[in-house]
Symmetry: C2
Subunit: 379 residues, 2 copies
Amino acid sequence: MDYERFFSADVPSFLRSPVREIFRKVDLQAICSFAGGYPAAVTFPTDQIPGLAAAVLEKYGTRALQYGATQGVPELRAAIAARYGVPVSQVQITTSSQQGIDVCSRVFLDPGDIVLAQSPVYLGALQSFRAYRARVDAVGEHNATSSIKFIYVIPDFNNPTGKTLTLEERKEIVALARELDILIVEDSPYRELRYSGETLPTLRELAPERTLHLGSFSKIFAPGFRLGWIIGPEPLLEQIYVCKQCLDLCPPVLDQYMACEFLTSGALDANLVNTIAEYKRRRDLMLDLLEKYMPAGTSWTHPDGGLFLWLTLPESIDTVALYDEALSAGVAYVAGSFFYPDGSHRNTMRLNFSFIEESKMEPGIKILVAVLAKALTNK
Amino acid sequence: MDYERFFSADVPSFLRSPVREIFRKVDLQAICSFAGGYPAAVTFPTDQIPGLAAAVLEKYGTRALQYGATQGVPELRAAIAARYGVPVSQVQITTSSQQGIDVCSRVFLDPGDIVLAQSPVYLGALQSFRAYRARVDAVGEHNATSSIKFIYVIPDFNNPTGKTLTLEERKEIVALARELDILIVEDSPYRELRYSGETLPTLRELAPERTLHLGSFSKIFAPGFRLGWIIGPEPLLEQIYVCKQCLDLCPPVLDQYMACEFLTSGALDANLVNTIAEYKRRRDLMLDLLEKYMPAGTSWTHPDGGLFLWLTLPESIDTVALYDEALSAGVAYVAGSFFYPDGSHRNTMRLNFSFIEESKMEPGIKILVAVLAKALTNK
């Protein structure tokens, strides 16, 4: 049967995640992977999970297993509202922060609309925007036009670059959004993972009237729960709520109560101290290794937090072309050009330092450097 | 601020669920509710949940808390494949059966497309189709046209009517789909809840080449887990997989492993025996009460399974107009006209018999009958 003709007009714009495609084919545990954005398993409160489940059923009974409110269970909404100092009415729980991006795309974007974004841009966001046939333009390289719907920004420890916006840059984003009179979608999954430097205000704090702030439990609890939240103005959340009825009726309920219990008991903050210490050590080791081994003409970002850093190699290097060879040699990364809508910047790569065990970091970097050295010699 | 101008062209087609709006305002425990499609809390394996969580962490370790494959964790896909006798490659796990409907809408529907459906039609499906600006036409009242993308059917214990398609009717649906050369979306959340009569083949079994079969754990495990599945041809699942990357990356992982453990250990089937016995008793009681109390000129369906039956009242009754009065009197139902795209059939209602405690059934029906009797007298 020819199935092609059944597909909607959006489908040809669907973009496969090259990262997910890697995961489909490769056992990440068997190689030195700097590829995914996976948290370290040692940061998960694994031993606490059965106890959390028991505590939740003790406290909420069968409510924890029944359908829940589309906005999220009231207790978790209240806990998020309290943590971030906003009214409960401004909190929508989402089934993952990725769903937050998707629902914003669905509620705001029409084919041909423009999203302004940092360049390079998070792949999952690029996928969502493209799937609604919107165009992604780099902030600063855009023409002011009425079809710009929002600016998408990861202000803290950006995926893929690891960079953090200064206060001045945050104010510029807000000024631009106000000048163009558009919304801001602030994607903030890493904000609580800061290893150095000072915490700066969120874009939502600077422009609450037009910002949808997306949060995530994936990096402060565990990604297997697929829970996030949106904080934003009620009139926007109201349409997101109606849309979410279609998406999945409500977020997973037992998971929400477990996240709520983990958060309100103080266990989340206690665990976060260890997570931050763990990742800070991995970041520092990674920076030391790059300093020690990387060939001349290579530069990289020095992130104050998050999971990633960004490597810029000599112009002659093509990280897409080198990828299979690197994988065969036992190391994985994500080619930087995947994060550019136009596929440019083929001499860059994203390196993740959260997932890989510390003992595999030096061997992994050495393999990577050998692959790069060979490519440089051949030029 | 004026937020309206930010919304996409789809947003005006978003349809709020009147059912979810009821839940937003009314404490269902405090009244006699025949409204929602909630399973009975007594059917949940509540006591087994902490043990399931512990068993899963014992067996799978931190994998149960990490990001998972977009298609679903391999173990659960294999368990579903084995249960329904299909290859694993034809199974996609979804974050709720509602997501299954949404992703099919997203992958197949363009504005102006037509979905053929039984009339009346499940509200959550109607919401999804409308949100993509597709039109819903009743099977049998359609004109053959190339913009018909699929037939949406709940063959077993339909929501809202409780009706089950005969084998002959199933064959007619399949013949129509083949004649029009369109897909079939078979929504099958209630199939395992049969209280009488013979199990008939699924539409997928009759037309595997063109059917997407949507299953759900909500009625055989617990809806708080938000887990479902799609069984269908690989070329269709492949695009659904790419789409799902944008939606939420992957279904909740711990929940998937818990569902898998519940299923493969045999606990699901053991629990299902009790669930079926419980619901059969409630259905029988409901039918007895309707027989005993309903005024002349009222008829209702006699479902062989599922959660609902459908009441047709004398023409003079308007169940939408009566709704607030009924609620004030302490009883909730869903007006039948909500399940018709054109809002017709205002003398019908959907009654759910799974959620309400048995002790509240007779008082609830008596309140409902009193409200109806008053309305009939006033005419």
